[in-house]
Every structure is written in C-alpha cells, then in structure tokens.
Assembly symmetry: C2
Homo-oligomer: 656 residues x 2
C-alpha cells in the first residue's frame, strides 16, 4: 500500500482523461500508489502552546533583533526607548524640517487645545497644558516619526459625558477637574498595561467600520452642539443626542444673537475655504494648517477693539500665565467616584489607542516604515500617566494634527519637542492674550474640523463592498447620534463580534469539480463549467470546524448528498464516496472531531464511504489524539484530492 | 495572454523537474499559458443575501420536500405535526414495544419526579404532574422517536436558585410556586420562538465541553446537597456552592441521625450495584431502570411498618389524589417578579434545549435517523407552555430516562403516551401511597443518578485531545461548584466565545513547499522534506481575513519574509515574489481587502511582487467591488499555486 510514489499516477495529467485513468485501473487490480500523508506523532503540548502564545501575543517577533547580538544593553535600551535610537544620529539638516513642522502644529495646537477643553467642560488653559508635557514624553518613548500629540474631540466629549453623569462641571468644577485627571491617570495605566501585556489584540477588535461610524456620529453631534456657540446661546442641554441638542437650539430661539451668528458664519466659511484650497492644491496644506490660528488672532483683535463682549459675543475669559501646575496630589481615588473615572478612563483609553495607533500606522505605511503597536501603547500610556500628574487630560495622536505634521515634512519625533517648546513660550508669555478669543471662533474651528471627520466616501465604499460592514458602521453612527456615545460604540462593536461569531457558526462549504481544460478542483459555483466524477461527491469545508458549527456542518453535508441525489434522479449515480477536503480548515476542537466521527457513522449507515483530504497540522494532531485516524483508517486519508478520487474510482471498480 | 490552456504547462508534472521547466522557459520568451481565473461580475446583493440567510437559518433546507409536491396540505401538516406522520401507520406490533418501554420509564418517572421536585423546592406532587401533561404534548409535536420527557436535576436546582433569590419557598410557598409556573411559561415561549425563528444557532454556542463541565459541576453540588437527606439534617444552607454546603453539613453534626444514614447508604449501595450490573451486562438495563422504583416501594413499606418517622427518618408527607389542577390563572406577571422569572425562564430554557436536543440527536444518529433541532425546540416550547398552564414545571428530554427508553426498545413517541397514562393512573389511584416515601430514599436516588452524570472519562478525553476545551469544561465545572450555577455557565460559554474570537484574530498562516516526490504544495512544517523555489515565498492564509486579524496578517507576512531572509543570509536568494494562497479563505470584509492593498503597497516598496492564488467566490466578489483586482492587475491572480510559481519564475527570467 505504501509504496514509493509512482509519478505516472501522482497527478491526473490532463493528457490522460479520466476515462483513460479508469481503464488503466481496470487492467491492473493493484491499489494505485499515492502521496504519503504525514501521520507523525503530534507535537507536545508545550510546543503547540508556545507556538500559540507566540502567534497571539508576539506575532511581530519583537525580540528577534537581540537574539544574535552581543552588544549588551544598548540594543534593548534603544528598542524600549526609541529616542536613544534616533537622537545620536540627529543632525541640523533634519532639525530644519522638524522646526518648521513643529511650529506649524503648535499654531494648530493652541486653538484646538482651547476648543477641545471647552468640549470637555474643562478650563481652556488645561487644553494648552495638555499640548506641553505629553508631546515631550511621546518624543522619548514613541516610535512613530509623524505622529503629533494632542487632544481629540470625540474623547473630550466622551469624558465630559461620562464624568458629567456623576459630577456637574458647573456645580463643582474643582471636583470635576480632579476626576478628569483621575480618569486620564486610569487611561494611562490601562494603555501601559495593554502594551506591556502585549494585548494589542484588544484594539484589533475595534474595526475600521466601527471607528468610521463612531467618528462620523460624534462629529455630527459635536457640529450640532457648536450651534450653541455660533448662536451665542446661554442655556443649553447637557444631553448629547441629536434630538435633545436640536431641541435645545430651537427652544432657546429668544437667546439667538445675530451678531454672534454673523461672525461665526464668516469664520466657518473662511475655514472651509482653506480646507477646499488644501484639497485642490495639496502643497498649500499650510494655509489650512494655520487658518485656525488666524481665526483665533483675528477673533481676539476683533473682540478687543470692538468690545464684542458687550454685543452678545462671549469670550473665553481669564487665562493665567505660567506652566502646568502639579496635579498628582489632586488625583481622586474616592470609592464613590472610582466606577465613573474607571469607566471614562477605559473607554476613552481604548478609543484613543485605536485612533492613535491606526493613524501612526497609516502614515508609516506611506513611508514604508513600521510602527510597533504594543510599543506605541506603552508610549501613549506613559504620556497620559505623566499628563495626569501635570494638569493635562487625555491626549493621543489626532488625525488632523498628524496629517499636518506629515505634510509639513517632519522627520522625527523632534517636531513634538518643538511644538512643546512653542507651547511653553505661549504659556509663559502669551496666554493672557488669548483670553479675548470669542467662543464663536472656537465653535467655528471645532465645526470645521468635525465636518472633515464625517467620511461620506468611506461610508459609501462600505455600502458598495460589504453590506454588513456598512451595518456595523451605521450602528455606530446612528447609535452615537441618537442614543449615546458609549451605547453607539458598544452596538457597533457588538455587531462586529456577532459577525465574527456568525462566521464561525456558518463556515462556507462548497462542492468541488474539475475546472474545464485543467486538472485543478475548484468550487463548482465559482467555476460553472467544472465537472465531477460520477458517484463521488467532493466537498471543501470552511474553517474552523468548531463546536459552534458542528450541527451545521453535519446538516449541510447531508443536504449536499440530498441535492446530488435530487439532481441525478437516476438510481445509478447516487453518491458512493464523499471526500471532505480539509485544506482550508486551520483549527478544530473536540466537538469538531466528534462531528467528523458522527458524519462517518451516518455515511456508513447509508453505505457511503468517507475520505478525508489534506488535514492540516493541528487538525491532524487532534485526529490522531482522539483516535479518529484509527477509526476511519489511514487509508482513507489523502494528501490531495486527485489521490482520493483515484482511490475511490479504484475501490468502486474492485467492488464490481 | 489568455490563450486556451496548453496541457504541457498546466501542471508541473513530476516527470519534469523544476529545472527542466525553468530551462523550457529560458528557451521561449512567451508568457506561459495558465488556467483562467473567473473574474465574472459579482453576484447581486439579493443573491448573496439570500444564500447567507439560507445557510444561517435553513441549513437543513426543511421545505425541500414540499417543493415538488402537489398533495396540498397533507405534507406540510405532517411536517409540522409529526404525529400525523407516524400514527396512521401505527400497528399493534409497534405498540408492544412502546408499551414495555413506556411502563419502564413510568417506573423511573415516579421516583425522579418526586426527587427533582424536592430539589426545586416544590411540593412533590408537582413532579408527578410534570410527567403527565408534557409527554402527551411531546408525543404530538416531537420528532424524536426515543426521547422520554421528564424533569431534570440541573434545571430544577437552577430554578430553585434563581427564584429563591427573590422569594423564599419557606416564607411564601404559594407565591414561589406561581413564580415557578411563570418561569416555565417564559421558558416555553422562549423555546417556541427560538424554534419558529430558526435560531437553533444560539444553542450551537453551548458547546459539548461547556455542557460536560456544567453537568459535572451541578452533579457534584447536588450530590453534596443530598448529604442533608442522607444524614437527616433539619437545618441547611440555601447557598449552592460546595464550600457552603460542606460547611452546613459539618456544622450541624449534632443533627446527624445514624438511622437515616444507615438506610441511605444501603439504598445507595443497592442503586450503584444495579448501575454496575447494567454496565457489565447491557441487556440487564431494566434492573437499573426499575431500581429507583424498588427503592421507593421498599422505603415506603419500611417507613410504614417501622414507623420510621419516629426514628429520625423524615418522610415526604401528604400527597393528594387527583389530576393536574389548572394553573393558568396563577401565572404571575407582576413587574416586581418579571426580571427573576424571565431570567430563570431563559437560562433554564436554553440549558434544557441544549440537553434535550443533543440527547435526541445522539440517539437518532445511533439509528441513522434525523432530528430537526428547530422542530424539537417548538415541541419543547409547546410542552412547557401547556405545562405551565397545568401545574407542571420545566420538562425536557433527560439523558437517563431517554437512555432507558431507547434500551427498552421504544419504537415511537407512543412510549411517552404510555408513560403519561401510567402517571395518570398513579395520580388518580396510588398517589397517597407514596406519602410514606422516606426523604433518605429520594436522596439516595438523586445521588446515584448524579454520580452517573460526572463524566470523568469525557473530561480526561478533553484534556488529552484539546487543552482549551478542557479549560472551558473546567471553568464550567469549578465555576458551578465554587461560585454559582449561572456564573459557572457564563464563564464556560464566555471562554468558548473567547476561543472563537481568538481564532478569528489569529488565523494560522503557513509556508508552502513542494512535498518530496510529488507535485503538491503543502505546509513545510507539516511536511518537513518539502522544498521551495528560490526567491518565491508561497504562503497560505488562514480564514477569515477580517478586521480582527488584519494587523496580525500584515505583521505575520513581514515576519515570514524576515525569517526567509534570516535563513538564507546570502544576498542572492532574498524574496522576490510573495504568493498568497487564499484557497482556504472563505470570507473577508472591507478591512481585510484594505489590508491586502496595504500589503501589496508594502511589498512594492521592498520591490517584492505580490500574487494572489485562488481567491474563493465571495472573496473575489469583494476584491472586484473594491477595485483591488484593478490595482493589483488581473495577471497577478492565479487559479493554482503551480501557475503562480511558473509565472514568477518566468518574470524573473525576463528581468535578466
């Protein structure tokens, strides 16, 4: 039986038609030779375990580079603290690029910092603080060259929502502020832990459609909220669904100020125009990059000289000079507030990671560089921990700022250092000047930024390519807009998980046939002309064969047989052999193996012979361990489908 | 390019070595002919949607049989109400078998009914009622021939636990009883709905290891609880974890009654002995089947004549004569109790389904018959709804009773009717006689039944074959034993879901090489002697390519390339072509396609050419819709790996 392979029978070469092959068998009654299946002893538990752990947590094999090194601590130090890698080779030539891009992103950081702090119901100065310390930390530990550190709108709103449930920022602004620092601290701890434990896998479950939907929904919401600033309203809702916000805007029509609205709309048109310019002429990116700063400066001058605050245009108000005060002693671990700070910390931490890591990665791919997600998480975590000690709130790598940084030609994380120094100078010298910033200018800046975040094209692309992804995206979008931010996010993630579970519950099977004018076996639905051999039903199973699909697979195989019999209708060509091609099955469990055993029993009762084709390594191991191989017999397991078909033709002949 | 296939080049026949093939190319500079890939227009959304829905909800194609029929209502009626199918052909010959098996299971139903009702803290008579009405309903709607209807221990205890959280059975037995009826009603509605909506898919997620662990843990717990009855304790804990139960047993040592213990141990030894007999001589199954009845009768006689209740042996107490009273007016939909009854109803309903459907299926497979899971659910649901109207609590198809029924040779569901008639006679005539049943006899019966449910061998089998399944099983076992029944169950299901998600997050990839002395390409780890072509790296991706694994796949492919370069070390044989074999990938989403685009960009930057081999139908559809095919070029997509390797060898040559 186990003779060395005879090349003539190995592959049914198209030169030999099946009839010829069939005839050749009728002439000789010997069993045809065939390729050997490897039935070697299964690997030990330790070996498989190690391999699984490595694939789960260290797929990028981060320590490869140290393995053949004798250089002691230098390499690992450079690995864990990337600044040691790039700083020694840093040059004036590189610095020129980083200086320019650093100044550009600083000009964006000032208005965005103030705006997003307002969004989080925090004093505007906190937004400026948050662009000083965290970028410095990131410059030391971060491994993306293009990422610009800063606060983000979605997380700012989410923090305001979550902490606002427990403490009102109006009634007790100090406690509210301290809880935000505590949430930021938890975010930092959580992100660092995820990175250290190499749990980047968690972030993998925030899919792209989820992020698109969540961002779109949040952007819509924030846009509508800014109508408060544009119309100069004094009273507003604390709720964050579209219906409540619109209701609040139109209910307080008596508070609408036409002065404020006019100024706001002018700013908004200016900002949108600069974005349009950037789109048409990408090398004029700096026009839109400095536009927010221009709006703030013009707004300040206008407010100062026109005494705007007396004409219904509200201004930011007092901003004191000075660097970040320490806030480590203000972290509040009161058990009453722990649930809410922990919740805010974890959710925003996860979203911030997903956004930051994804953005760092996308820009790295453009330059053909690599970003290590787990190291990025540690960098984000450290910058948030230190941030929470120094009066900063949640920071990550926002898309808009990073894109500006990239376009401005930054070369290393030094651009973050430059931005931090600019912010330091601002805080020390210029802060009071910004106290005249009109709120309506901030609203216009936020609105304009948010309009860019609603990615219609991407949503349409999802609709066109994959309806389920579209559904996931819309669940996030509509959930955030009409229910609440965290529910919308959960719904979207939930749907994505349901999709994954449904996949595992219903893996696609297909019937294989020989493609016309060739000798490969493929899905008969995909290659309509393909033909099958009488009496032999070849099925390819989808992966995995798991508990969740064992009933399905059993029923589906019976249906294939039934359909085959329905088609033929004649008595003679009913199924006599079923071949299960397991080439695609990369994993199975005990229930899966039991199902195969049950299927073989069921088929036996119908006098149908079952053959298994090409079980993969870990499936084969479980087949051996559970004695399935002994039950079905080694002679029923084949390396390739051609061997299996040949053998079944042969055995049929023999019966006759 | 797209010439009709030339058989000589189609498959690298082993007669031609690769060198020969290589040479043949150097002689001709024409592009080699190849198999055609099907780039037909993607199917419409409606078509794919219909196919997905069918696979998800109707994998067994239940309506196939009506399609070519003109017989009007008869077939569908037979399909939905199976009794119309078997009753017209019923004969006296079949009835003989069903009579015998029906009487046998009735003799088991009486002691088990009383015992499990005690376990659920219900009056013993409810247990007897529950074996009268539900079997009749099942006989009409059920489609398993061997299933015997009855109450089960695990669900009884779970009901007692859940309802007991809200209402104590001691303080307000009437309310407690009514809530149990209400929970049973919800169970029925839930099961019927699952069946009608064809959501059998939910039950699929209760894996075999979960059930094994849950049953084992529950059985351990119930065994220990029975020490109360064996030792004749009067005070006991209401908690159901091993520690509390053992604590309660040993704390109340002053209440231990040696008389009770002696009787209990004798009964237990007798019952275990009959189980042993059945194991050794399977045809003596009836010995163990009637043993519980013998224990009850002997116990009653002993208690009556020895005045056992005066010697510390408690008896069941008053059992009134008469059939099930109506309880439909007692269903309690008070909003205060809805959460707890709903919870009890859903959890027990799901477990009862998983047990009942699985057991019905296993026995059907032995006889080569089929059981339709969704129809079974409807039958279970109807019997529980009607049961809740007629003073019954949760019933399903218990393993022990069904096995006895099967061994006693039942032929149709008529055996359930016979059992119901026996129960009716018992309720009308004999019920008061059982009031002398000593509690210790019931404890012995329960303990003996539970000892059979701890499936050591299965747990050891799981340990040997699949460590993760073992973990899932032990989470259920230990969780139920040491925390609580519902938490144990959730932990076990949770781990099973994590396993499924982990699978989707880390699908196995492998490097392909040509297996020695053959021409098929297989995993080089599984087939160590297999060789690869210089400069060509062929990788097989695992299924699915989803958002959850897109980062992983990108990093893993980079690592394969890196490893390839580490091995060779020489400059000349670095990777120039990467072939991704997608034969096993049955599903993808937009993120997956984007990842493929990113990979092709990354490889392009390293001047490595990417080819795709054999994308399956629904992957190809998404590739076409998202313009990936246009980006990579149709000439980079191959039907089989041999074609792709040939083409890359050819293009290499051409470059030179």
């Amino acid at each position: 039986m186990w003779q060395p392979a005879n090349p003539l029978y190995l592959h049914p070469n198209p030169l030999f038609s099946f009839t010829a092959l069939y005839l050749s068998h009728t002439m000789s009654t010997e069993t045809p030779t065939r390729n050997r299946v490897n039935f070697a002893t299964p690997r030990s538990f330790g070996a498989t375990m190690k391999s699984h752990l490595k694939e789960t947590f260290f797929p990028d094999d981060p320590f490869r580079q140290f393995r053949n090194e004798k250089s002691g601590l230098k390499k690992p130090l450079q690995y864990f603290i990337p600044i040691f890698e790039w700083l020694p080779n840093y040059s004036l030539r590189l610095f020129k690029f980083d200086l320019l891009s650093g100044i550009t992103i600083a000009s964006l950081a000032i208005p965005q910092g103030i705006s997003y702090a307002k969004l989080a119901n925090l004093p505007p100065i906190i937004g400026l603080y948050s662009s000083f310390v965290p970028p410095l930390i990131y410059a030391v530990f971060g491994n993306s060259k293009h990422l610009a550190v800063g606060t983000v709108a979605a997380c700012s709103l989410l923090i305001a929502n979550t902490i606002g449930e427990e403490v009102s920022h109006k009634d007790d602004p100090t406690l509210y502020l301290h809880l935000v620092f505590t949430a930021t601290f938890f975010t930092g701890i959580f992100q660092t832990l995820l990175g250290l434990l190499r749990l980047g896998i968690l972030v993998d479950f925030l899919s792209h459609p989820t992020i698109t939907g969540f961002m779109g929904g949040t952007a819509t919401l924030i846009c509508l909220q800014q109508l408060k600033g544009i119309f100069g309203l004094k009273h507003f809702t604390t709720k964050t669904d579209v219906v409540s916000v619109l209701h609040a805007v139109f209910q307080n029509r008596d508070e609408w100020r036409w002065q404020s609205a006019v100024v706001g709309i002018i700013f908004l048109i200016f900002l949108q125009f600069t974005r349009f310019v950037r789109k048409k002429r990408p090398n004029l990116f700096w026009v839109s990059a400095i536009a927010p700063m221009v709006v703030v400066i013009v707004g300040c001058l206008f407010a100062y000289f026109a005494h705007a605050d007396k004409h219904g245009i509200q201004i930011v108000g007092h901003l004191s000079r000075g660097l970040n005060p320490l806030s480590i002693k203000h972290l509040n671990f009161d058990s009453q507030y722990i649930p809410v700070t922990l919740k805010a910390g974890l959710i925003t931490g996860l979203i911030a990671l997903a956004e930051g890591v994804a953005i760092g990665r996308s820009f790295a791919i453009m330059k053909n560089e690599q970003v290590d997600g787990n190291k990025e998480m540690i960098a984000f975590g450290l910058m948030n921990i230190v941030g929470s000690f120094t009066s900063c709130y949640l920071t990550t790598g926002p898309f808009s700022k990073t894109a500006v940084n990239f376009n401005a030609g930054c070369r290393t994380a030094m651009s973050n250092v430059v931005m931090a120094i600019c912010m330091m100078l601002t805080l020390l010298l210029l802060a009071p000047l910004f106290s005249y910033t009109p709120l309506v200018a901030l609203s216009a800046i936020i609105m304009s930024a948010m309009l860019g975040l609603i990615d219609y094209q991407e949503i349409y692309h999802l609709f066109k390519v994959d309806k389920f992804d579209f559904l996931i995206c819309m669940a996030g979008f509509l959930g955030v807009a009409f229910i609440s931010m965290d529910h919308g996010l959960m719904m979207s993630i939930g749907l994505a998980l349901v999709r994954t579970l449904l996949y595992a519950a219903r893996p696609a099977t297909c019937k294989l046939g020989k493609v016309q004018d060739s000798c490969v076996y493929r899905d008969t639905e995909q290659y309509p002309g393909s033909t099958s051999v009488n009496g032999v039903l070849a099925l390819q199973l989808g992966s995995p064969v798991y508990f969740a699909n064992s009933n399905y697979i059993r029923e589906r195989i019976l249906r294939w047989i039934q359909e085959e019999e329905d088609i033929s209708n004649a008595k003679e060509s009913v199924v006599e052999h079923v071949l299960l091609d397991l080439s695609g099955v990369t994993s199975t469990d005990t229930t899966g193996i039991e199902t195969l055993i049950e299927i073989s029993k069921m088929l036996q009762a119908k006098s149908i012979k079952l053959s298994i084709v090409n079980p993969r390594l870990c499936v084969m191991e479980k087949m051996i361990r559970s004695h399935f191989v002994d039950k079905i017999g080694k002679e029923s397991i084949f390396l390739c489908i051609e061997d299996a078909i040949e053998a079944s033709l042969f055995s049929e002949k023999r019966q006759v």
